[in-house]
Symmetry: C2
């Protein structure tokens, strides 16, 4: 299964829980899924419980190490600065994200952390993967809130 489809499933499950619909998946070098999570900020009362952070924690627990150097993170939305920096701490090789986030993103928007000369770990980045589906999920969620 395309990991981004699994991330989209996690995002839809997050929406069903009343969370901002973002989902993330981590795969290893062979494409095996090490972790998958959706946003749980409200449920866990934890502002750090973004999908990316939860998926990183699960994958690290799975491997028993705080570093994931051969792994790829798939996420439905451009990571915020917290998550972009966490991805660096985890030494992930690659980040593949869906929708761009001009307001809250930290990869291609805002501080653009991996583009900075002082960046300590710079993963390969692919943005806009399945952009129509991932962006539409977020638009639908926020439209329903208004």
């Amino acid at each position: 299964m395309d990991p981004m489809l699994l991330a989209l499933e996690e995002a839809r499950a997050a929406a069903a829980r009343g969370e901002v619909p973002v989902g993330a998946v981590i795969t290893d070098r062979e494409g095996r899924v090490l972790g998958a999570a959706g946003n749980r900020v409200e449920e866990l009362a934890d502002p750090t419980a973004h999908a990316e952070v939860l998926a990183i924690r699960v994958a690290c627990a799975c491997l028993g190490t705080p570093r994931l150097p051969d792994c790829t993170l798939w996420v439905t939305l451009e990571p915020c600065p917290m998550c972009a920096s966490a991805i660096g701490h985890a030494r992930l090789a690659r980040v593949i994200f869906g929708a761009y986030d001009p307001k809250g993103g930290g990869v291609e928007h805002g501080p653009r952390l991996y583009h900075r000369p002082d960046c300590l770990h710079r993963p390969e980045v692919v943005g806009g993967m399945r952009e129509a589906e991932t962006a539409s999920l977020l638009r639908t969620f926020f439209k329903a809130l208004r």
Copy 2:
């Protein structure tokens, strides 16, 4: 007790566990301690288990909310971009840190997240509190590693 002294205790306990010695404490408007934690990245095999993130999680669990708008975070080292952004997500009112971190910091160094015009939440910041003690603890730790 000065919360920074408690944060220093947490940092020393982290060093004793073989972790980079950083400690953090969160206090509420009345100065009551809601959470205190030291770095546990290696022990938990979790790259996001910085002292600040753990203290935020404990304080949020204590109050049952993902936001800490009237609270202050005390930390022995300038927060990295992950933690600086997590502090913003938690809507903390104030950040008081000890040693400056020219290489890994994200508040007064690197992306200087709260100085950016696109910053969504800008806490009050005081840096250099008990700088001699907090910096000396880190220097001693890293000297022993070499």
